[in-house]
């Protein structure tokens, strides 16, 4: 056997083993965390499952691939929405869906406009545009009552049994969620019942988590 054929066999072996390792990696999940491949929650009796996009070549395109929206109005938001309101990330949102939302004690609110919501949103989110929570909406009280506030005998609202709310909007460049948080606090909603998912739909999509859109197409 000459040197050239030895080299050839070695090259074949190397490329074969690379193929084996490669397919082994290919078979691995794109998991949420090491010990969690997906997250299941129920919303009014319907079961939803959030996982990550398994196509490792997938990249964002379209609206949520954009880097440069005009500021104002789309300016970068601070880490905290308001005093007493915790800022959360994707894992906390999933935890919130699995526990509070599944138990009927919480809701995930998409605070963007109805048009944006109808094109896509986080799986399990409910659309409550920030503007409808402003004091100039004369039907705001009806929304607060639907979120679990109770009208007391003197006409004021009691939020003791109101739902926990996790609020988000398009991304870190959108003030919608923060405005919704301040509108809610101004209406009397307790800050400790509010959570701010600052990353919003863009951060959610950027790690391939299931959206209403992708859930429907599957």
């Amino acid at each position: 056997m000459n040197i050239a054929s030895v080299k050839g066999v070695t090259r074949l072996a190397v490329s074969l083993s690379a193929l084996v390792i490669g397919s082994a990696v290919e078979a691995q999940d794109v998991r949420i965390t090491t010990f969690k491949s997906d997250s299941t929650f129920t919303l009014n009796g319907r079961t939803f499952t959030v996982s990550r996009d398994q196509n490792r070549d997938n990249i964002l395109t379209g609206e949520f691939a954009r880097t440069s929206r005009a500021c104002p109005p789309n300016c970068l938001q601070p880490m905290t929405a308001a005093d007493g309101v915790a800022t959360v990330g994707e894992l906390e949102v999933l935890d919130f869906l699995e526990n509070e939302v599944t138990d009927g004690r919480g809701l995930l609110l998409d605070t963007r406009g109805a048009d944006a919501f109808s094109s896509s949103s986080i799986l399990g989110a409910v659309n409550v545009p920030y503007a409808t929570l402003g004091s100039d909406n004369r039907y705001r009280t009806d929304i607060l009552l639907a979120l679990g506030a109770v009208r007391t005998s003197n006409g004021a609202l009691d939020f003791q049994n109101a739902m926990s709310l996790t609020l988000f909007s398009g991304g870190v460049w959108s003030s919608d969620a923060r405005t919704a948080v301040s509108n809610l606090i101004e209406s009397g909603y307790p800050p400790e019942k509010l959570f701010y998912y600052r990353g919003g739909l863009q951060a959610w999509m950027h790690v391939g988590l299931t959206t209403q859109d992708s859930a429907n197409s599957n």
Partner: protein
């Protein structure tokens, strides 16, 4: 040697005294900062006072002979208002009453109602809890019901004012200087818009003179080229901005020009007070 020591000691004492007591220092009077700008905020406040005084002086200067009654600062309780335009509301009242050729328009109130009911449907889908939109009567619905029932003007006045007292929002320009709802303007405008819908011409601009309009003044303001007649009107008890617009222009729609011309005085069209002296613009 001792003398020198005592002299030096005395000099040191005097020097210490000078340092401690600083008899020639200016004291804390000068608070200017290093850039030379005065840092005392009292200065800015003094300027503001001057501007206010100047504005008052100018106001007095334009009316040298008139005794200006200071607008009452004690504010009356006012009905809630919303951004529904009286002309839109009237239009919908006429459409509801079946006037030919009047198509209903969508008011902000209806838009908000629609979007809120969409949201409630979304929440209901997620929680399974049925929620209903509070069916509080709109001002429009109350007026329609009263007109359908053939109520007299007096009882319509009582009905709409009771409704306003119970928190029903009314159009801004119907709020009077004493915090009531101007039913006569509302009814007059319904008649006017009904006539116009039936093809009648818009009411003519009435001839008004200070002789027959209480609170009206006409002043001749000299300009470089010509003299301009400026009209002023002092708000009387029971006036609404809609009433003033009808008084001078025959229709409610010119309230906007009156409001624009008096923006310094009126924070919003429903905040008119007895004794306020309004400029009546030329249309």
């Amino acid at each position: 040697m001792i003398r020198t020591t005592i002299a030096l000691f005395a000099f040191a004492l005097v020097l210490c005294g000078l340092i401690i007591f600083r008899p020639f220092a200016d004291g804390e009077v000068n608070t200017a900062d290093r850039l030379g700008a005065p840092v005392d905020i009292e200065v800015t406040r003094a300027v503001t006072t001057d501007i206010e005084a100047l504005v008052r002086a100018t106001e007095t200067a334009t009316t040298p002979t008139a005794v200006v009654e200071a607008p009452r600062r004690v504010d009356v309780a006012r009905p809630d208002t919303d951004d529904t335009r009286l002309s839109d509301m009237t239009n919908n009242v006429l459409a509801e009453l079946g006037f030919a050729g009047v198509e209903p328009v969508t008011t902000n109130s209806q838009l908000q109602r629609q979007s809120t009911s969409d949201i409630l449907a979304g929440i209901e889908a997620a929680t399974g809890q049925h929620s209903v939109l509070d069916e509080h009567d709109s001002f429009e619905a109350i007026v329609i019901a009263a007109l359908r029932a053939g109520e007299t003007d007096e009882s319509i006045d009582r009905i709409v004012n009771d409704a306003a007292a119970n928190g029903v929002a009314v159009p801004e320009i119907l709020v009077t200087s004493d915090g009531r709802v101007d039913t006569s303007v509302m009814l007059a405008n319904i008649v006017t818009q009904a006539q116009m819908a039936a093809g009648a011409a818009a009411p003519a601009i009435p001839e008004v003179s200070p002789d027959d309009v209480q609170g009206m003044e006409v002043r001749v303001v000299q300009r470089a080229n010509d003299d301009v007649e400026a009209r002023f009107y002092t708000v009387q008890t029971g006036d609404s901005l809609g009433a003033i617009s009808i008084k001078f222009f025959g229709v409610i729609t010119h309230y906007e020009e009156i409001f624009e011309a008096n923006k310094g005085l009126l924070s919003s069209p429903d905040r008119i007070r007895v004794g306020q002296r309004l400029v009546i613009p030329q249309i």
